[in-house]
């Protein structure tokens, strides 16, 4: 029987190892090998993965469900934390405003809105126990919001400036032209009783007047967005976009006189 001498076998192994190491360390040898074997290796890898997927189908299914649940929970936590972040920014703004303002202010949160479409009001979480009384003015960082129409021990109703029952004596900041701002139930306000020759133009800023018995003077009401003539032809009116987004207000400040 053919028998390889031990010496020759050892030499052959040593040479083979040297060639393999050399081929593996030099990229000029390595790359062609890799390129040659790559498609086959990819195919083998793909088959292995698919077979593994079939074998561990049930385990993967359960893990997928678990991970999906985890993703859902994390998403909702992310939303919660975003909400907290936004609330934090708003409250920080309110606190700064409260510290800077010369007025005595009571910050409060909106806990409810008008239950029908024919009035515009909100319910806040501060009442008589916090010093809030009927007739007090409610503002936000952006400007005038409304006034307290009723107050109980721990909550109050605020009549918003876009309610038709609300009327505030206001002036055009630039020309000091006076008028009465009232609500229309829509998103805009209307400034009435402007004389024919009133000095008012688009984008004029409207602020509360010192003639107003209800509000402190100089509170921002909004900006003029259009002008028109009343049906009687005697007066003009101006449509005003409120400075405050009344539909999405969440925190307000009550002015304590």
């Amino acid at each position: 029987m053919f028998k390889l001498p031990r010496k020759i076998l050892i030499k052959f192994i040593l040479v083979a190892c040297a060639v393999f190491l050399l081929a593996n360390s030099l990229s000029c040898f390595k790359d062609p090998f890799n390129n040659f074997f790559k498609p086959q290796l990819s195919l083998v890898g793909w088959v292995k993965r698919e077979i593994g997927g079939l074998i561990f189908f049930h385990r993967n299914l359960i893990e997928n469900e678990r991970l999906n649940n985890e993703v859902g929970a994390l998403r909702s936590r992310l939303l919660d934390s975003r909400e907290v972040l936004l609330e934090n920014a708003r409250l920080r703004g309110l606190l700064n405003f409260k510290q800077q303002s010369p007025l005595r202010l009571v910050p409060s949160r909106v806990i409810g809105r008008s239950p029908d479409s024919w009035s515009s009001s909100i319910i806040i979480d501060k009442g008589k126990s916090n010093g809030v009384r009927r007739g007090m003015v409610v503002i936000s960082l952006q400007g005038l919001v409304g006034r307290i129409s009723e107050s109980s021990d721990n909550s109050s109703k605020v009549l918003l400036i876009n309610d038709p029952a609300s009327g505030i004596s206001s002036i055009v900041q630039r020309s000091r032209q006076e008028g009465l701002v009232s609500g229309t139930l829509g998103t805009n306000l209307i400034m009435r009783y402007l004389p024919e020759n009133a000095d008012i133009v688009l984008n004029d800023t409207i602020i509360t007047s010192e003639l107003s018995q209800i509000c402190p003077k100089g509170l921002l009401v909004g900006k003029v967005i259009s002008l028109g003539k009343e049906l009687s032809g005697l007066n003009r009116y101006a449509m005003i976009r409120p400075a405050v987004d009344l539909a999405s207000i969440e925190e307000v400040l009550v002015i304590i006189p």
């Binding site: 029908d116 479409s117 024919w118 009723e150 309610d163 009327g167 139930l185 998103t187």
Partner: protein, 155 residues
């Protein structure tokens, strides 16, 4: 026990109406869930219970509105009586008739509230009509859900 459920439903609907999400308010109008409940109570319950529930629904609205207190109690009682009289003349088995009854009640309620609101200050005609039709339509769209709820409790 059922009466307690009805009261709880009124409170829940009232809370939902008070905290109706802004993104679900189309053209500044919101549905009158309490009125639908009062009308459905007239259809599915005896008149006395429905009348009391209607008054309670009106009371909840009055408590949270800024207008004259008691207007909605009176209005809801009157509408319950009107729907009761109408439902005796008509068959309330079909959905269309029930929708028609809700439509009459909501339109009347909106007209009364709208006139009251317009009287307290000026509302442009466009906003008045828009509010009238949008809130009526919105209430009608949601009425089958409240009807189902009332029928479930009544069974």
């Amino acid at each position: 026990m059922k009466k307690l459920f009805y009261l709880l439903t009124v409170i829940l609907l009232g809370l939902l109406q008070l905290n109706w999400p802004g993104f679900l308010s189309f053209f500044n109008s919101r549905p009158d869930l309490l009125l639908i409940f009062a009308v459905s109570a007239v259809i599915y319950l005896d008149f006395k219970s429905a009348f009391v529930l209607g008054a309670f629904c009106g009371l909840i609205k009055d408590v949270f509105l800024t207008g004259v207190f008691g207007t909605n109690i009176l209005l809801f009682c009157a509408l319950c009586y009107l729907v009761f009289r109408l439902s005796r003349q008509l068959s309330t088995e079909t959905d269309l008739i029930r929708l028609g009854l809700v439509c009459v009640a909501v339109l009347l309620s909106n007209v009364v509230n709208g006139i009251q609101s317009a009287y307290s200050g000026g509302i442009p005609a466009g906003i008045f009509l828009g509010n009238l039709f949008f809130s009526t339509g919105y209430t009608l769209v949601l009425s089958p859900l409240v009807f189902k709820l009332t029928r479930k409790i009544a069974e």
